[in-house]
Amino acid sequence: MKYHKPKTFEEAAQIAAGSNGVTRFLAGGTDVLVQLRSDVVTPDDLIDIKGIDGTKAITKRGDGGWDLGVAVSGAEMMEHAELKRDWPGLVEGMDLIGSTQVQGRATLVGNLCNGSPAADSVPGMIAAGCTVSITGASGTRNVPVEEIPVGPGRTALTKGDVISAVHIPPRGARGGDAYLRFIPRTEMDIAVVGCAVNLRLDGDEISEARVVLGAVAPTVVLVEDAAKAIIGTALDDGALDALGATATAACNPIDDKRGTIEFRRDVAAVLAKRAAKIAYSRAKGGQQ
């Protein structure tokens, strides 16, 4: 195994492109190092991206949106009051990951690129409409987060691609987001179902919405029907029921040790409704 610490993303991409074996990027390492130690994946080239300038930066753009460096940890996001005020759902999704120790290291991009359908920060990123910059052989491109996961443990990144930044849209007026996950315990568990909702209000009515489910299909899913079910409503009981039904319908889960198909379908509806209520109340200025 070779350890690399490049100074630029171009260099990181080149090392990855030139590798003859398994490559891994080292962000927080909370997936990579655990997998290494337990003999799951032993990379031939381990490329540490934390030596690259700007990877620890949280920057507010002129348009009111945010740019996040790829090594920004969960704890750093939690401690950023203004980011948290703008995107509480996105930040709380990241904050649910692991323990205090893990929070000191774990990153959004690591969570995304590890490719778990149960990744806790990914539904919130997709609901918010985040994009990532990808630096590859042919330069840098900007891609919506929902296009990155393609299957359990698999992403749309190709050999030599490295994510170089995360971009969060401007919050804008009367918007709110929320993320909820279901776990049997209170901590240190993996989502059996996750759901993020991001919406905007016009008066009491929802004018824009994105609903995203985790852990109920081979990838995190953006459920357009669920968004449609609540757009144009004031989240009345009928809208909530329709939201629940569309969330259940969007599930394509498996029966496994963590939950049954039936359970995941039922709980997807429950979480979608609960998350939508929180997002709605936040959009109205509630502090939930």
Binding site: S38, D39, F182, P184, R185, T186, E187, M188, D189, I190, V192, D256, K257, R258, G259, T260, E262, F263, D266, V267, V270
Partner: protein, 749 residues
């Protein structure tokens, strides 16, 4: 300080000093199993079967042996031949012979110059397996046509016509069931199941072993009982027992699972094969879950009869216990204790010990009792609900007390069940009003406790301080309890006593710290050893004063003349007598050896409030109360710790912990992510009440307290969930998917 002189007054017993091992443990200085190293040490790794059941046709280790740094490979051929009974079982479990019997069964091991090389080397061992049909469910394993784990494993107790996987049969009872059920106003029959749960100790098994070709060896390991380890290793390797010295490390939890061996004989075999170099073996968490002993799972049929006013008229139970690929499921304890809380005239129990392709079960805190309690305490609760009776009242009505003949035979001496029920009844928690989707559950439990082979020494040092050596590893603060008992006996400060855990060469044989016996049995041995010292100390004083030894009394660390007739002398302190030890007759020490049988059983009653989310089936424990009889709490904080620990483990077993096997017979959840032990934030602060009904068989009244606490939580939680949801669950664990499915089914019914 005899108990017959009224309520004893204690100076040190019952206080809460810091534990003597505490500083070492919080500063990282304490040495656990994996902390022990030796110069020239090799590292071991074990190759494990990926099959649930397979013939081992051939093992080719040539590629592994060719790897640089590899010093030895062992297979079953490197262990002793001709073993039988439990010795053979343990050997076979540590290293498979002709067949791999479960997913994770050891088939070969490597010693190499580094842990990484050893891990790489086991991947180079080629094993030819012929997979066989497997079974991992207890009812399926008894059914006709089930694959036979091992023909001829059944003992004399098994009646003709049962499947060969049934290896032990147990039946007991009294009275006439028909007559008893005929007297009942309500008779209920229910089927219950519990899943295998792991002890979940935080410290994985670890050892450092050294064994020469001369048959002399040393072993340092993490264990609850090093004399057991010595005997088991000596048998597995064909050694003379005394040629092996075993020293226990500090221990990060055991709960029964460390009363046997899994890796120690393997490490010794590797060391012997590597020319006597020390070999360190440390298990990973998944090895612990796959290949050490969880407790047995159970499938049970319970029938109970009750009068309208709540008197139990008859009870019967059939218990099918799955103990993995070897005999030994705790079916005798399960059956014997099933109805032991209650005074029942007509009672009958049947038990089956059943083998399957799972790891060999090991003891787990009150082995067998929690499953039995789940059946009994659930059915009583359901009957109480149907009859509109209070769950504590119904238990009080049937509770055993001194003089009552137990369902398992003997008459009870003084016991504290009624006292725990009354204390629960008057506790604030029992009166807290409940909100929607909340429910309260009650259950009682019992554990017999144990005495066992015990040997201890107490030695007086030159300055009058005291060195205590016991043979029971300190798992739950027993050094503190031993020091308190010694301090009380001598009348000297707690700080003047230092307690050591002796190795196998420094005391007579000792059973492990199991059966909740350490504070009772080692404590008794320490007190008796101290008394022997006191006698000798008093005699030295008598000689110095020139009076009869009988005319000397011992009080608060001083020898004194017993009265004016004995003569007028200045009291002589322990330090003074000890200082003159060498010139007054030599060293002073006391010893005690026995297998005491006057242990007293401990009853407990738990009260729990839960809230169940009706939309997700998720249970939150709102408050939890443990009331238990400690006889006499030597160090109340550590007694409370035992109560809380037992409750926490039982809550995990009730809610989320289970061994999940796939169709392929492989364990699906061999990591703590998916084997869901409760985390700290899952539980409220667990409230405790210590009841003290002294055990007449211990000088200070001690009863063991370690195990009873895990017995009531399974039914207490299930009863609370039934109260919260209106749905009665009879299969554990009560995971959210199971509870939600139950709630939905009840709604649709």
């Amino acid at each position: 300080m005899a108990l017959d002189s009224g309520k004893p007054k204690f100076k040190y017993i019952g206080t809460r000093p810091n534990r003597p091992d505490g500083l070492d443990k919080v500063t990282g200085r304490a040495r656990y199993g994996a902390d022990i190293s030796a110069p020239g040490m090799l590292h071991g790794a074990i190759l494990r079967s990926p099959h649930a059941h397979a013939k081992i046709l051939k093992i080719d280790a040539s590629k592994a042996l060719a790897l640089k740094g590899v010093k030895a490979v062992v297979t079953r051929a490197d262990f002793a031949d001709g073993l039988s009974g439990e010795d053979w079982n343990i050997q076979e479990n540590c290293m498979a012979g002709e067949k791999a019997l479960y997913d994770g069964h050891a088939v070969a091991a490597v010693a190499a110059t580094s842990a990484l090389i050893a891990r790489d080397a086991i991947k180079l061992i080629d094993v030819d397996y012929e997979p066989l049909p497997h079974v991992t469910d207890v009812d399926a394993a008894m059914a006709e046509g089930a694959p036979v784990i091992r023909d001829g494993a059944a003992d004399y107790s098994v009646p003709e016509g049962l499947h060969p996987n049934v290896v032990r049969y147990f039946e007991s009872g009294r009275g006439d069931l028909d007559e008893g059920f005929a007297k009942a106003d309500l008779v209920l029959k229910r089927h219950y199941t519990t899943e295998a749960a792991h002890q979940g100790y935080i410290e994985p098994h670890a050892c450092l072993a050294q064994l020469g070709a001369d048959g002399k060896g040393e072993l340092w390991c993490c264990t609850q009982g090093h004399w057991y380890v010595r005997q088991m290793c000596a048998a597995a390797l064909g050694l003379e027992v005394s040629q092996l010295k075993v020293t226990p490390s500090e221990i990060g939890g055991g709960f029964g699972g460390k009363t046997t061996v899994f890796i120690d004989p393997v490490a010794l075999a590797l060391s012997r094969k590597a020319g006597g170099k020390p070999v360190k073996l440390v298990m990973s968490r998944s090895e612990v879950l796959r290949a050490t002993g969880p407790t047995a799972s159970a499938s049970m049929d319970i029938k109970m009869g009750m009068t309208k006013d709540g008197k139990i008229t008859a009870a019967s139970g059939t218990y099918r216990m799955q103990g993995g690929a070897f005999p030994g499921a705790p079916v005798d304890e399960t059956t014997v204790l099933a109805f032991a809380n209650y005074n029942i005239e007509h009672v009958h129990h049947v038990g089956y010990d059943v083998m399957s392709n799972r790891p060999k079960q090991a003891a787990y805190r009150a082995p067998g009792a929690p499953m039995a309690a789940f059946g009994t305490e659930s059915i009583i609760d359901e009957m109480a609900t149907q009859l509109g009776l209070d769950p504590l009242e119904i238990r009080l009505k049937n509770a055993v007390k001194e003089g009552v003949r137990a369902t398992y035979g003997p008459k009870f001496p003084a016991v504290g069940l009624i006292e725990t029920l009354e204390a629960a009844q008057s506790h604030d928690n029992y009166a807290v009003p409940l909100g929607p989707n909340q429910g309260r559950g009650v259950a009682s439990g019992f554990w017999l406790n144990w005495g066992g082979d015990t040997s201890a020494s107490v030695a007086i040092s030159e300055d009058g301080t005291v060195a205590v050596t016991v043979g029971t590893p300190d798992i739950g603060g027993s050094r503190a309890s031993m020091a308190l008992m010694a301090a009380e006996a001598f009348g000297i400060p707690y700080e003047n006593v230092r307690v050591h855990i002796g190795d196998t060469a420094s005391l007579g044989i000792n059973e492990p710290t199991h059966g909740s016996r350490a504070t009772y049995a080692s404590g008794l041995a320490v007190i008796q050893s101290a008394k022997e010292c006191i006698q000798k100390l008093s005699k030295r004083a008598a000689e110095a004063w020139g009076i009869d030894p009988d005319a000397v009394i011992w009080e608060d660390g001083f020898a004194r003349p017993s009265g004016p007739n004995a003569g007028e002398f200045e009291p002589m302190s322990i330090a003074e007598i000890a200082g003159n030890m060498s010139s007054s007759g030599g060293p002073i020490s006391g010893h005690f050896e026995a297998s005491p049988e006057t242990y007293g059983g401990s009853f407990g009653t738990h009260v729990v409030d839960v809230e169940v989310d009706p939309e997700t089936g998720r249970t939150t424990v709102l408050r939890y109360l443990v009331v238990q009889d400690a006889g006499k709490a030597i160090h109340p904080s550590y007694v409370e710790g035992q109560f809380q620990g037992g409750a926490a483990q039982g809550i995990g077993w009730a809610l989320n912990e289970e061994y999940i096997y796939g169709e392929d017979g492989r364990l699906q959840n061999p990591i703590f992510l998916d084997y869901r032990v409760p985390v700290a934030s899952d539980l409220p602060m667990i409230d405790t009440v210590i009841v003290e009904v002294p055990n007449p068989g211990h000088p200070y009244g001690v009863r063991g307290v370690g195990e009873t606490g895990i017995t009531p939580p399974l039914p207490a939680i299930a009863n609370a969930i039934a109260a919260a949801t209106g749905v009665r669950f009879t299969k554990l664990p009560l995971t959210p998917p199971r509870v939600l499915a139950g709630i939905k089914a009840a709604k649709n019914a």
